[in-house]
């Protein structure tokens, strides 16, 4: 967690969306290998932070990249950013893996995707759609004070009750809750939404 989510704007990176489209359009192995080299180790990191074992984290990272290949055609370059799209794949796989480990579910992978699929009416106004661009979100995140950012980050990766976050950061429980609340409110207002 030491690196936090330092938003490294200067890093020159390939355009991930273009690579995903190349995978989808022509099964481009080189593009896939580039995506793999960047995202697989970060997905593994995400799984480890989420409390998965080394073996499970490795397996889930590989599985997630396989999904990236198989689902590439579903990626809409005009919608979510490539990293957000891959995040949702990793998120859903982790939920599915947890259920299967606990033998909670008779169902198979794919159901988690359905559970996040909301048959929505079109957004009432184009401005709302604009707020979803990654640049805006990155800006909004960059504007959060570091202590709020840290609490948000922990809440993303850990199923930890707030009490454990408080413990890890050595701050009172009430502070965790208020920082998280402040950060989310601020994020919402920075995204230009009215509440």
């Amino acid at each position: 967690m030491g690196q936090g989510m330092g938003l490294d704007r200067d890093a020159i990176r390939p355009d991930w969306a273009v690579l995903i489209v190349a995978v989808s359009a022509r099964g481009d192995r080189a593009a896939f290998a580039e995506l793999f080299a960047f995202f697989a180790p970060r997905i593994k990191s995400f799984m480890l932070r989420s409390g998965e074992s080394e073996v499970q984290a490795e397996e889930l990272a590989q599985e997630a990249m396989l999904m990236v290949w198989r689902k590439a055609a579903l990626f809409d370059p005009a919608g979510a950013s490539a990293s957000a799209w891959i995040f949702t794949i990793a998120r859903n796989l982790r939920i599915d893996a947890k259920r299967r480990t606990r033998r909670e579910s008779a169902l198979v992978a794919g159901d988690v995707d359905d559970e996040f699929h909301i048959d929505e009416a079109p957004l009432p106004d184009a401005r709302l759609a604009e707020t979803q661009t990654e640049a805006n979100v990155r800006n909004a995140l960059a504007q959060l004070p570091p202590d709020q950012l840290r609490v948000v980050e922990m809440s993303f990766f850990q199923d930890r009750p707030h009490a454990e976050i408080a413990d890890a950061l050595k701050i009172p429980l009430g502070t965790v809750k208020s920082r998280l609340r402040l950060a989310m409110r601020r994020l919402r207002s920075l995204l230009g939404e009215e509440t």
């Binding site: 330092g6 970060r42 990272a61 198989r70 169902l107 979100v137 948000v152 609340r181």
Partner: protein
């Protein structure tokens, strides 16, 4: 349709991060179906998740990881895209995946109050049910030992925090003591995800509690 009552940002963030209990996930998804504004916030949370993912310190995979994934690329996907289950229950306002779950029959839980359990395919800390209350009913004064999330599907009710109509989301916990009054004229149907036990305050409540089977 204007929605006045939304889930907290923290709840929406937990939903987007994939950290919610299965039953509570359903309560939030039901609100999202009605609320474009909260859907946009969840997308923003997912974008934030993407940014966070991209900035994580990488942890190397085994040396042959790419090769072993590449070996699987051409295999037929075994578990992907399962046939979609047909809905068991067509009900406006419920997300499609919820409509594929089995629903129990309506049963009476108290005068003018009926409940219908939704059977979840996954273990969940929260029980999920539909609650139908007759017009003009005043529900008992109650608090919760756990957490209760309610999303209105039809009709409406009021309590001290205001009026709740279709799509509105209400959150109750042990700090909330409310006594909803159902709107006149129509039944009110809500989806409820509830953890813990319902506590009914007051002598009358304690007398009547054995009859409220929730």
């Amino acid at each position: 349709m204007s929605i006045a009552h939304h889930p907290s940002e923290a709840l929406l963030a937990a939903y987007g991060a994939g950290r919610l209990d299965a039953g509570e996930h359903i309560a939030i998804a039901t609100h999202l179906l009605a609320c474009a504004q909260c859907r946009a916030f969840v997308r923003a949370v997912e974008q934030a998740g993407g940014s966070v993912l991209a900035e994580l310190t990488p942890v190397p995979l085994s040396a042959d990881a790419l090769a072993s994934v590449e070996a699987r690329l051409q295999q037929a996907p075994e578990r992907f895209s399962p046939a979609k289950a047909p809905p068991h229950q067509k009900m406006a306002g419920l997300p499609r995946f919820v409509q594929t779950y089995p629903f129990d029959e309506w049963r009476s839980v108290a005068p003018a109050l009926q409940a219908r359990t939704i059977r979840l395919p996954h273990a969940s800390l929260a029980r999920v049910f539909l609650l139908k209350a007759g017009p003009g009913t005043r529900l008992l004064e109650h608090t919760h030992s756990g957490v209760e999330m309610t999303c209105v599907l039809e009709g409406g009710f009021s309590h001290k925090d205001g009026h709740f109509g279709p799509g509105d989301f209400d959150f109750g916990d042990s700090s909330v003591d409310h006594r909803p009054l159902i709107d006149d004229g129509v039944d009110c149907v809500c989806l409820v995800a509830m953890r813990g036990r319902l506590d009914i305050n007051g002598i009358l409540g304690r007398l009547i509690q054995p009859f409220v089977r929730l």
